[in-house]
């Protein structure tokens, strides 16, 4: 017999200029289901006006990011039993630091524009990737032809979790800085200037929340720290160049 839990889902609701509030939905759930399944069931059987974003259901599109009990999760890969127990109340809210369009759907346009600004490449040549701790890259010439999708799925969870992004709309944010690190700031003076600005790599205050919530092992915090070293290296090089 299938194990069934009864959960109370408190879902954030906001329409237009109305007042935000929480809608309460009692729902039967299998503990091995994913949170997105429950949200979809509410939309299908309880309230067709519920707005939320999702697409692939397998953590590739990055569309279904939400806050579950206050923590940023990719809901399509978050099993119910990891965030609740039988009879529990589960709070479902939109990501922070992005304007709410309606209910659980947020406007992530600022993230996408900035990712383009820093030249984030969704598809990479394996040999071009910056080295990461503990990962050896192949030096074989034929391996340069291997391409793969970048780890970052632009889900915005890291920006939602970042305390600096909460108060500084101009801050590029963890995903964008990670994208810049992947692009490489050497030989790109425009990008270097952007990263070395007050809203670039130096604005991070090392809370490491971005890395904690990233569902795709991008490790944005490590990449921001790596960017800082790259910026310092470029500054020192420029200092010597200007002295000539």
């Amino acid at each position: 017999m299938t194990n069934q839990w009864t959960l109370n889902l408190l879902v954030y609701r906001l329409k237009g200029n109305g007042a935000p509030h929480y809608g309460s939905f009692k729902i039967k759930a299998n503990p091995d289901e994913y949170v997105l399944d429950l949200v979809e069931r509410i939309w299908a059987f309880e309230d067709r006006t519920l707005t939320f974003a999702h697409a692939c259901h397998h953590s590739t599109c990055g569309a279904c990011g939400m806050r579950i009990n206050g923590v940023e999760k990719l809901t399509c890969i978050t099993p119910v039993h990891t965030v609740a127990k039988d009879g529990a109340t589960v709070k479902v809210e939109p990501l922070r630091n992005f304007p709410v369009i309606s209910d659980l759907a947020v406007d992530m346009g600022s993230l996408f524009r900035r990712m383009e600004q820093v030249g984030h490449r969704p598809v990479l040549e394996l040999a071009d990737e910056p080295a990461e701790p503990g990962i050896m890259r192949s030096q074989k010439a034929e391996d340069r032809e291997i391409i793969r999708l970048a780890d970052c799925i632009e889900c915005g969870l890291c920006i939602s979790a970042c305390p600096i992004a909460t108060t500084t709309p101009e801050y590029l944010g963890p995903a964008v800085l990670a994208g810049a690190q992947q692009s490489g700031i050497q030989n790109n003076r425009k990008l270097l200037a952007l990263i070395d600005s007050q809203n670039g790599a130096w604005r991070c205050h090392s809370a490491f929340e971005c890395t904690a919530v990233c569902p795709s092992n991008v490790e944005p915090a490590w990449r921001i720290m790596d960017l800082r070293m790259q910026v310092m290296s470029e500054r020192i090089k420029n200092w010597f160049r200007s002295g000539k």
Partner: protein
């Protein structure tokens, strides 16, 4: 949509101090902010105290007698604690910024805060022992 509470804004600064459901890094962030504010306030108080020197030896001596009050001694102890927390956490931030111990930043924070607590206890004994 301008009413949305999710829009990033400097007016959200109180959310900096909400550690619910967050990781230890947020505690480090909060402690660094609070101690920074405390130390900045102390800097101004310190300058005001030093300005007492301009009132002559008697005025300064009178002020020194006042701050021997246990409440002021406790305040000085808080300054030491704040200095230890802020300085040691600053060491963590500085080293991780140079790529050192990033995977161990949590453990690094626990160890440094243990040192801050030990330092606080040492100074408490020294300052409050009769």
């Amino acid at each position: 949509m301008s009413t949305t509470p999710n829009r990033p804004s400097p007016s959200n600064w109180l959310k900096w101090f909400d550690p619910r459901q967050r990781e230890i890094g947020t505690w480090a962030f909060i402690l660094n902010r609070i101690t920074a504010l405390g130390l900045t306030l102390y800097l101004f108080l310190h300058l005001i105290i030093l300005s007492q020197l301009a009132g002559g030896e008697e005025a300064y001596q009178g002020f020194l007698d006042l701050i021997r009050n246990p409440i002021f001694v406790f305040g000085e102890w808080l300054v030491i604690i704040a200095g230890l927390i802020h300085g040691l956490n600053g060491l963590r931030i500085g080293l991780t910024s140079f790529g050192i111990a990033i995977p161990y930043q949590k453990q690094f924070f626990y160890i440094l805060m243990a040192i801050a607590v030990a330092g606080g206890l040492y100074f408490a004994v020294r300052m409050f022992a009769v």
